[in-house]
Amino acid sequence: EAGVTQSPTHLIKTRGQQATLRCSPISGHTSVYWYQQALGLGLQFLLWYDEGEERNRGNFPPRFSGRQFPNYSSELNVNALELEDSALYLCASDLRTGLMSSYEQYFGPGTRLTVT
């Protein structure tokens, strides 16, 4: 069974540009989560999508946004990039039955975003 996949592996952008990161969840998983892992700051929750809807977001500005497609894959968009957006962006998926989570998030390898 294929795991969570993310693309691209690395992304280099300049300040002010936009970045688009993509994630494909494990087959059958309907929930996708995005996290930012910046150096020295640990993992910080960004966004949670389930069944195409944004269910929750972390303490990040609105220039961090995303969407989930009908096939449950997801896209994270970061507008007006700032130097401090440089980080590893991790996507995770889990299996939900209605409102109940399996409490087992499976993570992808991440996209390393560098803003210069």
């Binding site: 989560y33 996290y35 640990g42 993992l43 910080q44 929750f45 949670w48 929750n56 972390g58 991790l90 995770a92 989570s101 409490y103 087992e104 998030q105 499976y106 993570f107 992808g108 390898p109 991440g110």
Partner: protein, 109 residues
Amino acid sequence: AQSVTQLDSHVSVSEGTPVLLRCNYSSSYSPSLFWYVQHPNKGLQLLLKYTSAATLVKGINGFEAEFKKSETSFHLTKPSAHMSDAAEYFCGNFNKFYFGSGTKLNVKP
């Protein structure tokens, strides 16, 4: 407000000795806690989870954690460290999608 606190940023043990990685939680209701491991240049892997069932949770690779409500703790232990256990470990709370700051485990030969 913080959901979990990992008490040590770095822990160093000798191979074959016990491992203890400490995590305290703060929650007004029954939390859903986890431990993940992240090996260098590899993805995060779930070690174990607590979701209000048995308080002693057994995970992969010989790790286990005990949920202690009286101490608001969820420490991760392993009886005997192996070189391959060297990695960064994250405690967290599923309810708030919160990850602790991480503990880097070093295993000396």
